[in-house]
């Protein structure tokens, strides 16, 4: 087949469908971005005005000058990072144990971690609030981070168990026979192999924590208020500040997208690293 035919075929079968999917995924987001640079007068009219009559950075300026949005943005970053660190550091050993050891109560514990994830959080929030108040953790970073581990730990354990299971057990057994300790085996042999899985799980925990509202609303006050709660302040009883809201939304989506742009190579990197070794 000639080169240009090959290119055309690849465009038709791969790039075009990817483009369609991206249009679906991005259209509402682009709409939001356009709204964030429109003057307020362009917002509630019909027929809809798609292209802004003029571009304005007012909404972003207002976010910066008149609200505590950027402070909240940093709080969110801290909380989500904390949730990833706490979630992964307790989940990786647990998932390894579930995947590699046979022990009494194994199935019970594994199922248990799933079951506790099934309870609607809206009903857990008030008992948790009372508990956090007794522990003195209301309006602290650690309080919100621990609150977020209610979903991050069960989820991480389950995802990581399936990634661990996908790695042949002979590999780490060979290392143990070679005299490596359990921890060395995990760190040097198994972890590099499941890196794509760890990264994916980390992304999931980060995003979920970044976007979480209910726990954050109940457990945070002015001091550690994250961006989702700050955003909710733009939706008043009688007005929605569309400009501020969409500008804020754009800034919220930004770090996650950038993070993924950087990290997606690791998804592939993990594979090649594994392939070279085997």
């Amino acid at each position: 087949m000639r080169a240009y035919q090959k290119t055309a075929l690849r465009f038709l079968l791969i790039e075009l469908p990817v483009l369609v999917i991206l249009v679906f995924a991005l259209a509402p987001f682009v709409w939001m971005l356009l709204t964030s640079v429109k003057p307020n007068a362009d917002l509630s009219i019909f027929p809809v005005r798609y292209w802004p009559s003029e571009f304005t950075a007012d909404h972003f300026k207002m976010l910066w000058q008149r609200t505590s949005f950027f402070h909240n943005w940093l709080n969110s970053l801290l909380i989500a990072t904390g949730a990833v660190i706490v979630g992964l550091s307790v989940s990786i050993p647990a998932a390894y144990a579930f995947s590699r050891f046979k022990f009494a109560g194994r199935n019970m514990f594994l199922t248990g971690f799933l079951v506790i994830n099934m309870f609607p959080v809206v009903l857990l929030i008030i008992p948790l609030f009372v508990l956090m108040r007794h522990l003195g953790l209301i309006d602290t970073f650690i309080g919100v981070i621990i609150g977020h581990s209610t979903f991050s730990i069960p989820f991480s354990i389950w995802m990581l168990v399936s990634y661990f299971n996908a790695i042949p057990q002979d590999l780490d057994e060979a290392a143990v026979i070679d005299g490596a300790s359990r921890l060395q085996t995990i760190r040097l042999v198994v972890l590099p192999l499941i890196m794509p899985g760890v990264v994916t799980t980390a992304i999931y925990v980060f995003i979920t924590s970044w976007n979480e509202y209910l726990y954050a609303m109940m457990l945070s006050g002015d001091k550690v208020r994250p961006v989702t709660v700050a955003l909710q302040l733009f939706i008043g009883e009688f007005t929605v500040q569309w400009g501020l809201l969409t500008a804020g939304g754009a800034l919220i989506a930004l770090p996650v997208t950038l993070l993924f742009l950087v990290i997606q190579k690791r998804l592939v990197g993990g594979l090649t690293a594994g392939a070279v070794k085997s």
């Binding site: 027929p47 647990a94 144990a97 194994r106 809206v122 069960p154 389950w158 909710q232």
Partner: protein, 293 residues
């Protein structure tokens, strides 16, 4: 310590940190909620709360809204998860091919998932809006409709409209999970299949699918639980309306808990939902156990 005992305790020591944290932040509230479900606990009248046995559950069986919400929840979870899975699988397979802007495409596909539900709900409500919505505007300009449609206000269209929003929000999750799973498929298997002369479809069916089946099953399971519990987008978009058209079980439990403050009854509703989900999990765990054996 005896080496054998140490060996036996090792897995538990690996579990300990996870157990300790979840024990405090989940088990305790869940336990409290269990107790609430056998009381007539109303938040604003805590002194009048008393044990009433299974009365909440008896009341629930006779509650018309419970049955409406339950049937909606079944349709809701099945359709959303299936559509998310198919779209996510398709996206993952495409994004696993090589083309020059693959890195950017992989990063951009995650955008819907990177937005908080509150914003998603508001933006989509606005898109569907009868008076100033983009969807009606586009369809009118394309002459596909000659009158704007009140998407969220008709019982027939509102549920589907919200489901589309959820599919949009959640398919990147499957795309990313499956994409990561695809990276663990050993290349030798494909080479072997190619040498045997297998077509692209047969390669997918006999090599790709079996290799990612485990991760897909886990992703589906986690997603079922997540979608079954999700209510923030419904709450923002319709609050359950029109009428009961977009009521699901967690939404109903939420409304009973926070508008009526009837925590006892709401806890019973939540408990029933957890038990139903437990059924699905049980089927899955049995399958897992068979695989491990």
């Amino acid at each position: 310590m005896h080496p054998m005992t140490r060996q036996k305790l090792l897995p538990y020591s690996f579990l300990l940190p996870a157990l300790a944290i979840t024990g405090v932040v989940i088990i305790y509230p869940v336990f409290q909620t269990l107790i609430l479900s056998i009381q007539n606990y109303v938040l604003y009248a805590p002194d009048e709360a008393r044990y009433i046995g299974l009365q909440n559950f008896q009341k629930l069986l006779k509650d018309e809204v419970f049955w409406i919400s339950l049937s909606h929840s079944v349709i809701w979870v099945t359709s959303i998860v299936v559509l998310q899975l198919l779209l996510g699988l398709g996206s993952a397979l495409l994004l696993n091919q090589s083309f020059w802007w693959r890195g950017v495409a992989r990063a951009l596909v995650i955008v819907p998932w990177a937005l908080p539900s509150v914003i998603i709900g508001l933006i989509w409500t606005w898109i569907y809006d009868y008076n100033v919505g983009v969807l009606n505007d586009l369809l009118l300009r394309a002459h596909l409709i000659d009158q704007p449609v009140a998407w969220l206000s008709h019982p027939q269209t509102s549920f589907a409209a919200i489901m589309l929003t959820l599919v949009w929000q959640g398919f990147p999750f499957f795309a990313v999970m499956i994409l990561a799973g695809l990276q663990t498929v050993p290349q030798e298997l494909y080479e072997a299949a190619r040498i045997d002369g297998a077509t692209a479809f047969r390669q997918f069916w006999h090599v790709t699918l079996p290799s990612i089946a485990g991760i897909m099953a886990t992703a589906v399971l986690l997603r079922i639980i997540w979608v079954a519990n999700s209510l923030d987008i419904i709450l923002v978009m319709t609050g359950g309306g029109p009428g009961y058209a977009t009521y699901t079980l967690p939404l109903y439990a939420f409304l009973r808990a926070y508008s009526e403050m009837e925590f006892g009854y709401a806890a019973a509703l939540a408990l029933v939902m957890t038990l139903l989900l437990l059924g699905i999990v049980f089927l899955y765990v049995r399958r897992q156990a068979k695989e491990l054996a």
